[in-house]
Symmetry: C2
Subunit: 106 residues, 2 copies
DNA sequence: GACATAGTTTCGAAGTTATGCAATTATATA
DNA sequence: TATATAATTGCATAACTTCGAAACTATGTC
């Protein structure tokens, strides 16, 4: 019974990094090569490659080679859905905080 | 623009621990005291308390005191929704793996 | 084969997280 | 005030994560 919590925590762990979150959002638009992701994020190729390897290890992304390039894409659209919901949680938290701040300013 | 990825990763980070995931699922049923959570999880009070403090710091749970007890509850039902979706991602991954295993056994 | 480009892997330093133990705080009750 | 129960905090330590630099692998072109 406890095993499921561990596995589910691992899914979160994969998404629990700002670079990997940025990669997920970048791939939302469609498949991209490592170099494209590197340029978009403004980070080293080594770093992006390592994060892609984590994402692939948890089966959140797939990859396919085409000549010199390797194209990465989101493995399951539900990952995007989960991210969307977490962003909603976040925005509701932020707007809640703003309401409180507004009250204090009165 | 990058800040949002950091914040969103932080939301994930909060959920990226099996004990905290177990607490979230335990609180899904309704508010509970620390002692109840301790008994349910079979861990030390110190440990549960520290994880509750992380969850509270990210505003995922609320607490209210009633006499000697402190009752914890989920702050936003969307947190449960996000967890549900992540579990779906997980179960789809597991069943996908099983399909592949079945093919190999032929 | 030599060279260029795309991507991965290895390694070590720096930072972060999880845990139990012991000490502390808060409330209730006699 | 003394004592019991509920919960939190501080601290040490072991385990894990992140990152860049350099070395390596894979593919394409001359």
């Amino acid at each position: 019974m406890k095993e499921i919590f561990k596995l589910q925590a691992d899914v979160c762990k994969t998404m629990a990094n700002p670079v990997r979150m940025e990669i997920i959002y970048a791939l939302k638009e469609g498949e991209k090569t490592v170099t494209e992701l590197v340029e978009e994020a403004g980070l080293t190729k080594s770093n992006i490659s390592q994060h892609l390897s984590v994402l692939k290890g948890s089966e959140m992304v797939r990859s396919r080679r085409e000549g010199q390039n390797i194209y990465y894409s989101i493995a399951n659209p539900k990952i995007i859905e989960a991210c969307r919901l977490m962003r909603e949680v976040l925005t509701e938290q932020l707007s809640e905080r703003q309401k409180i701040m507004a009250k204090i300013e009165d």
